[in-house]
């Protein structure tokens, strides 16, 4: 209700002002068109967040300077530090970035956003910018009608730039006319009181418009037409720099702890930079005079000097905060501690991750990996083997670990506590967010859902096997106990192989994981045949009673299904999808005819 009342009040006030002043109407229309352009620009860049951006992001954020450069370049291109910050928060939430890299991007975005002021002050104020806007809008709209996603995106970017330019033109012309009627500079304030007041005004204006860029355009156009004093314009720019963090804060509300840590870093950086700029404003002004002479900026070109000031105080912030990043990260982790990793609460499924197609699939993959960790742990508990077996290279059949007393794990209770809730969350999250994604991403989400289901089945398989493992380990004949030990060793070794593949793929030692999994498949199938042949021999020779033999047969079937599922899960989770090399591996993966050839050669070798 309050929202509607507020909206009505704002609309009435604006309508009144529009009626009283056509110049104000022109300025407001300029702001509106400018913000509309920003919106178009954001949507246009979103069209490219399905591949290229993630690829660049992953490869250009492994060092602090690279992260900063990435922030500068992307913000310069997109002309929106807020969009870059929100993207960084989403990527961090999805586990595709670490906090240090995210902070580097934020530093860079703060410097990159100052290029907007240079563009407007150096170009927008000196030429008839509307003349450039028209062809951009025309070309942009034509591209918008194309089928290709990339062309559509390009069209949106062009149209967005066109609207930005048109908005600047309207604001400039509005302020020029406004000057003849009312002199806003009469409201100017000097001294620190003025600096603080105008900083606050800049902050509020940016929070309302959710774009420091729009505020800066207003400041520059007002300054260019003499409606603002230079000193007050500097204070407004400081305020705009602080106010811009609001978008990141809103974006972080739906993010996980990592996303919130980054939003807090953004706020801290901008607050500190702002405070420093206020404290040193007069020294900075002196510095700008010297630099302006050096850069050949005319002494009466206040707009370019404002752009220089904007860049200078953000660079000062980076120089100050850059070396303090490590303590900053420590402080943020203390302020926003990661939730204790017990139980199975999801870690990556949140609104921030769902905001972009790339972070959606990667976030879900990370969560399914989380489910895999629980599954692997429960599987080892079901086999009554310690986690250390995953990192050794020993032959488990002969090891003493299989002889030891079995643990007393309650697999049913553990399944209800750790697997089922997480699986349900993953399924619900995918179902909620799969609409509207590209067919490729839809397929990827489907595969991840299937992998989750397979892991649930793995836990159910081990639950079934565990009954006989416990019974025969206690009371079975020596030969039956020995067969159950072989069965347990086989399952643990398959898990170990899959787990090793995960490590080797992530650290780059295994370049072809998809093809490597063919060997795992072969092992699983061969073991099944060998185990059952041995079982036949034991029955034939009367070394095993039929009752125990059928139990072993059933459990070997569970074991084989379980191991096949593990290989399928590995294929979905550990193999990088989508790249050309992945498609080449898919083509070279062995099919039925190839398997027949492998088997035939094995027979030839054994005979």
């Amino acid at each position: 209700m309050l929202r509607w009342v507020l909206l009505a009040v704002v609309f009435s006030a604006l309508a009144g002002l529009f009626y009283l002043s056509p110049e104000f109407k022109e300025i407001a229309a300029g702001v509106g068109i400018f913000l509309f352009g920003m919106l178009f620009l954001e949507q246009g860049f979103h069209a490219f967040t399905g591949g290229a951006l993630e690829h660049v992001l992953r490869h250009s954020t492994d060092r602090m300077w690279k992260s900063i450069a990435f922030g500068v370049v992307t913000t310069t291109l997109m002309q929106s530090s807020s969009l870059v910050s929100v993207i960084a928060i989403s990527f961090l939430s999805a586990g595709m970035l670490d906090l240090v890299a995210g902070i580097g991007i934020i530093y860079g975005a703060n410097v990159g956003t100052t290029t907007g002021a240079w563009l407007i002050a150096g170009f927008g104020m000196k030429v008839d910018i509307a003349a450039y806007a028209m062809p951009m809008l025309a070309f942009g709209v034509i591209l918008e009608f194309q089928d290709s996603r990339s062309l559509k995106g390009l069209g949106r970017i062009l149209a967005g730039m066109g609207f930005l330019f048109l908005g600047i033109h309207f604001m400039k012309s509005g302020f020029d006319s406004f000057r003849a009627i009312f002199d806003l500079s009469a409201l100017a304030m000097t001294g620190y009181g003025g600096v603080l007041l105008f900083t606050l005004v800049g902050m509020v204006a940016t929070v309302v418009m959710q774009s420091s860029h729009a505020t800066l355009v207003l400041i520059i156009t007002a300054l260019g037409s003499g409606q603002l004093t230079y000193e007050n314009a500097l204070a407004l720019a400081i305020g705009a720099n602080v106010g811009t963090t609001i978008t990141a804060i809103i974006g972080a509300l739906g993010a996980n702890v990592a996303g919130r840590q980054l939003a807090a870093a953004h706020l801290l950086f901008n607050l500190l930079t702002g405070a420093l700029a206020i404290l040193l404003i007069y020294q900075l002004v002196d510095g700008i005079e010297i630099l302006s002479r050096w850069l050949d900026i005319s002494p009466d070109d206040a707009t370019l000097k404002l752009a220089l000031f904007h860049t200078l105080f953000n660079l000062m912030g980076v120089a100050l905060m850059g070396p303090l990043t490590t303590p900053l990260v420590r402080g943020l982790r203390l302020m926003f501690p990661a939730p204790a990793r017990v139980g199975s609460a999801p870690r990556h499924l949140n609104a921030s991750v769902a905001g972009m197609p790339a972070t959606l699939t990667e976030g879900v993959r990370q969560e399914v990996l989380h489910l895999y960790d629980h599954t692997a742990d429960l599987l080892l508990q079901g086999l009554s083997l310690p986690n250390t077996v995953l990192t050794t290279d020993q032959d488990l059949v002969g090891s003493g670990e299989l002889e030891e007393e079995l643990n007393s794990v309650d697999l049913e209770a553990e399944y209800e506590r750790r697997i089922k809730p997480l699986y349900s969350e993953i399924v619900a999250f995918i179902s909620r967010h799969q609409g509207g994604v590209t067919p490729e991403r839809f397929q990827r989400l489907f595969e991840l859902r299937v992998a989750s289901r397979e892991m649930v089945q793995v836990v159910k398989d081990i639950k079934h096997m565990r009954k006989n493992i416990s019974a025969y380990h206690r009371d079975g004949a020596p030969v039956v106990r020995q067969e159950y030990r072989r069965l347990r060793a086989h399952v643990a070794e398959q898990l170990r192989d899959v787990d090793r593949l995960r490590r080797e793929t992530s650290d780059g030692r295994e370049a072809l994981p998809l093809l490597a999994l063919d060997a795992n498949r072969a092992t699983v199938e061969e073991w099944d045949v060998r185990f059952n042949e041995n079982l036949d021999r034991l029955i034939r020779d009367g070394l095993i009673d039929p009752d125990s033999a059928t139990s072993l047969m059933n459990d070997s079937t569970y074991a084989t299904h379980l191991c096949r599922r593990l290989v399928d899960v590995a294929e979905t989770l550990f193999v990088a999808h989508g790249a050309e090399q992945h498609r080449a591996q898919v083509r070279m993966k062995l099919d039925d005819a190839d398997w027949a050839e492998v088997r035939q050669r094995a027979v030839q070798r054994s005979s």
């Binding site: 032959d395 072809l512 063919d518 050309e580 090399q581 083509r587 070279m588 993966k589 492998v598």
Partner: protein, 82 residues
């Protein structure tokens, strides 16, 4: 650049499916190169391995790589012929 190479380059430039096929061949060749490297590493491991079970597993991996490589070469040849 030789005449043949220039023609192939122009073909790739103007024919979308030819350029896609060329990308596929490049990717297959890259995978074949990596497989060859892996095969060499596994042969070294096999030479230094004395445990029976591990030797069997390495031999099986080598056998599978052999079939995969043959398949890759065949796919490359087919794509080039098209």
């Amino acid at each position: 650049m030789g005449w043949k190479k220039a023609v192939a380059w122009l073909e790739r430039l103007f024919d979308r499916s030819a350029s896609r096929r060329a990308r596929e061949v490049d990717a297959l060749r890259e995978v074949l190169k990596l497989l060859k490297r892996k095969e060499r590493r596994l042969r070294e491991d096999l030479a230094g391995e004395s445990r029976d079970k591990r030797r069997r597993s390495l031999r099986k991996k080598l056998e599978i790589i052999r079939v995969q490589r043959r398949k890759g070469v065949r796919l490359c040849r087919d794509l080039r012929r098209r």
